[in-house]
Structure formats: C-alpha cells, structure tokens
Amino acid sequence: MKNNLLNALSVALFATAGLYSAHLLAAGNPAAAGNGDTNITEEQFLKVAKESFPWATPEEFDERVKNDVTLAICNKTNGQPNAAETDVILKFEKSRMEYPKDGKLYGDWKKGQEWAEGAHGGRIGFADADDPAHPNGANCYACHAIDPNFPGAGNMGPSLTNYGKLRGQSEPMIKYTYEKIYDSKALVPCSLMPRYGGKGHLLTAEQVADITAFLLDPASPVNLPAKEAAK
C-alpha cells in the first residue's frame, strides 16, 4: 500500500518534471533545434525538398518530409511552444495514442530486449533500405544506456539502467512508461525522443509493451547488477 502510494507519487513527479523541463531546458537542449533563424519559409523548403528527394512516393513525402502539426510548432518555436501551442500539441498527440488490442501494456521483456537492441527498420531508398518484412527495432541504445552489459550506448537521452528497480512496477508507472515510448510528445511537447508508435513510426503497440516490460521487469538485465565479464 505504502509502495503503491510512493509509486503513484513518483509517476506524478516524473510527468510534472517532464513538462516543466520542456520549457525550462529547451534553450540548452538539442531538442530545441528550430529553423536556425533564416528567412526561408516552409513552403520554399518543401519546394526544394520535392526536387531533392525525387524517388520519394507521395505518401513517403507526406509522412517523412512534411511536418505534422507537432513538428511544425516545434520547428517554428525552436522547441519552445507557448501555452496555447503546447495545448495544441498535447491534444493532437493524445489523439494519436493507442494501446495493444488485448489492453496489456506490459508485454514480454525478452522480446522487448530484442526490439530495444535492434537498429533495423524504417530506412527507405535503395540498397540501404530496411526489409519491411522483418520486424523493426527501436535502436534505444543509440541514445540511452539500458542493460549495463550492453556496450556502446549513447548519451543523448538519460540512462535507463535500473529503470524498474528505481521506479517499481505499479500500474501508473507501466502506463507512463508505455506512453513515453509510444508517443514521447504526448508527455513532453517537443521532446527530442522520437515518437515510436503510430503510422509512419517504427513500432507496433505490442512491441512498445514489450519494451515497457524490458525496462520495468525485475528479471530483466536492465534491473540486475552488471555481469562480471562485461565490466
């Protein structure tokens, strides 16, 4: 009971801290990359982009080159939306949020480990394109340290080592973690973190649930001491 209360409290603190940090830290945050103060308009950019990406299908162009409402605001405001713009983004992103059909936000951590490590998926073009027949990975290690035994992590996002050990596995924490991976911008308007769920992004709802379990499960290597050999 006491644990549950603590967990709920920590979720609330996390979520609040996330929202505040979006405003307070934007100036020193790479997520704050705006349009670099130029006189170029989005219309001019898209005209150039259209000719510069001649092999993109109309669908690929709309999905990948054109900004949706969220990125348009983030680009325009240098990652620092005002209160009204923040509302527009949060409303739009919450409408994008989807959950696994079976309602389980906590999947199979072993599968989650695979999706977290995998860097395959979403690349289009020619010889370097990813085979869409293979499931996508999220390449989490590009930005985060997670399993302490995994070498070569990135530092663009915070370390997630001991994620579940520190936070516990309460329902609110599971939901927060799932939603953060599925759609980071539903929680922090111009988060640097990619949105992984939904059309045009890399993961299925079930894969997001698997990664949620990988981060939270007490048996996952994320929450166990590093093995000797890896030290």
């Binding site: 790479p30 990359a33 130029t38 990125l71 983030c74 073009g125």
Partner: protein, 281 residues
C-alpha cells in the same frame, strides 16, 4: 560507367575494418584512439589514392558520346583549372544559374560537355549493399582527384551573391529542421558538444574547428565500405538514419546542406587533406 572493385578487397580492410566496425570498444574514446593509430599506420598506404590516380586519368581522357576530356570544365577558376578548385566550392555558376558543389559541377560537365546520361551516372538503384560498396564510380574518382588538388589549402568558400546567400540560408533551415520518422534534425545530433550515439562521438558541425577537421578529410576512404565517399554521401547517410527519402546528388538540398556546413569549415585554416580515412561515416 561503373567498375566492380572486387580487387580492392585489401587485407587491410579485412583485418582492421571488421574489427573496428563490428566490435564495440569499452568507451568511444578508446575506439577513437585505436583508430587514430590505425590511421597513422595507413598514412603511406591509403587505398583512396587509387581513386585519385584513376580520377586523374579520367579527367584528361577523351570520353563520352562527344569524345572530349574535362579539360574544358570550369570549376570556378577557369576551364580545366583544378588546383585550388575544391577549396572555393560550392559557388554560383552563371552558365547553369545555380550554386554547385564540386561533385555537382563535375556531373554537369560529364553530362553537358561529354554527353553522358545523367541518370546513368547518379541513379542509386543498386541491388544490394555489396553491389553499392563494390561499385567504384567515375564521378567519385573525379571528385577525389580534383579535391586532392586543393590539398594543403584551407576551405575559403564565400557567400558573394544572392544565389549563394539563399542556398546557405536553405542549408541552415534544413540543418535545423526536425523531420522524418525519428523527429530529428541534423542539429539534434550535430549542434551540441559531447553527444554520443551508440558509442560513436558525434561531430558538432556548427563548430568551425570540428567542421574544418571533418570536411577537410572528405572525400574519404571509408573502411567499412572499402570505398571512397564524398560529402554528398556523408549527408545522405545521416538522412538515411533520419528515415528520410534518398537524396539526389547535385539537388538543391544537397548543395544547400554542403554549403551551410563548409562555411563553418571555411572559418578555419585547417588544410584540405584528401583522401581522409574513416572507419565508417
């Protein structure tokens, strides 16, 4: 137009390349140090030198349906002048009414003066990664040859007219523009010091010293590919990671991104030294 380079499977890339690209070092700086030692060892034997030698022959040879050499190709300093040409590109050219990179300008000369088919040269339709890596393109050989004729000189690219200024602004806009499936801009990774991506230190391309160091090494021999890669290709690889569509060489966006970055490199006195050697890129 394109030659297979199976013969280029040197022992070096096999012995060192696989090690460097497939194992993770304990820390990124360890890997960088290891590679620094390798680069020194390779200083007298850079496989990229073959691209320069072959590019020189290609440049002066009468080729294409019109059977002419590229000695009439104006790279900004007059027809056929290659010394120092790379150090002042991209720039605006009256005849095409465009800002062009060295790669784009050479492509234009191959098409307009020699009569080659542009799509034949630039089409990226490879069947496999092995085919792409194993293809030694005439255009890249030419770029490597001409670029090497600026060795020892720093970049001195200038924004002297409206077209150049506009291309620069477009490059800046694109560099800071979040897009693609990953919601990333070039600037998300390459405008903040100290960022590491899956164990790899990311160069800050808005920092003149770093831009100078990185861009003076391109075109570079990339060990992972056993091939020489130009700055166009370097930007295309980043766009690929952003899950953007394939960028066309010599497109306005190719030129704009190149110009925006090389203006930072032009603030330094770092001399051009191509071909550089890169583990990956």
């Amino acid at each position: 137009m394109k030659k297979k380079i199976a013969w280029l499977c040197f022992a070096a890339p096999i012995l060192f390349g696989s090690q460097i690209t497939t194992t993770y070092a304990a820390t990124p700086s360890d890997e960088d140090k290891k590679f620094e030692a390798y680069r020194e060892a390779m200083a007298d034997f850079n496989p990229g030198d073959f691209w320069i030698e072959d590019g020189e022959k290609l440049f002066h040879e009468k080729r294409g349906p019109k059977n002419v050499s590229l000695d009439g190709c104006d790279l900004g300093l007059g027809p056929g002048v290659v010394k120092g040409a790379y150090a002042q590109l991209p720039r605006y050219f009256k005849d095409t009414n465009r800002v062009e990179t060295l790669e784009g300008r050479l492509l234009g000369c191959m098409v307009h003066q020699q009569g080659f088919n542009e799509e034949e040269i630039t089409k990226p339709y490879y069947a496999s990664l092995a085919e792409e890596n194993g293809t030694k393109s005439d255009l890249v050989e030419l770029v490597a040859y001409v670029a090497a004729q600026s060795n020892g000189q720093p970049y001195r690219v200038k924004l002297e007219n409206a077209a150049e200024k506009n291309a620069y602004e477009m490059g800046k806009y694109a560099f800071y523009h979040r897009m693609g499936s990953m919601d990333l801009a070039c600037a998300s990774c390459h405008a903040t010091p100290g960022l590491v991506l899956r164990g790899v230190h990311l160069p800050v391309m808005t920092d003149p010293a770093t831009a100078g160091k990185v861009m003076t090494a391109f075109p570079a021999y990339v060990i992972k590919d056993a091939n020489v890669r130009t700055w166009f290709w370097r930007n295309e690889r980043c766009l690929l990671a952003m899950r953007m569509p394939f960028l066309k060489v010599n497109s306005d966006l190719d030129v704009a991104l190149h110009l925006f970055q090389v203006m930072e490199a032009s603030k330094t006195d770092t001399p051009i030294a191509v071909p550089g050697i890169k583990p990956r890129a």
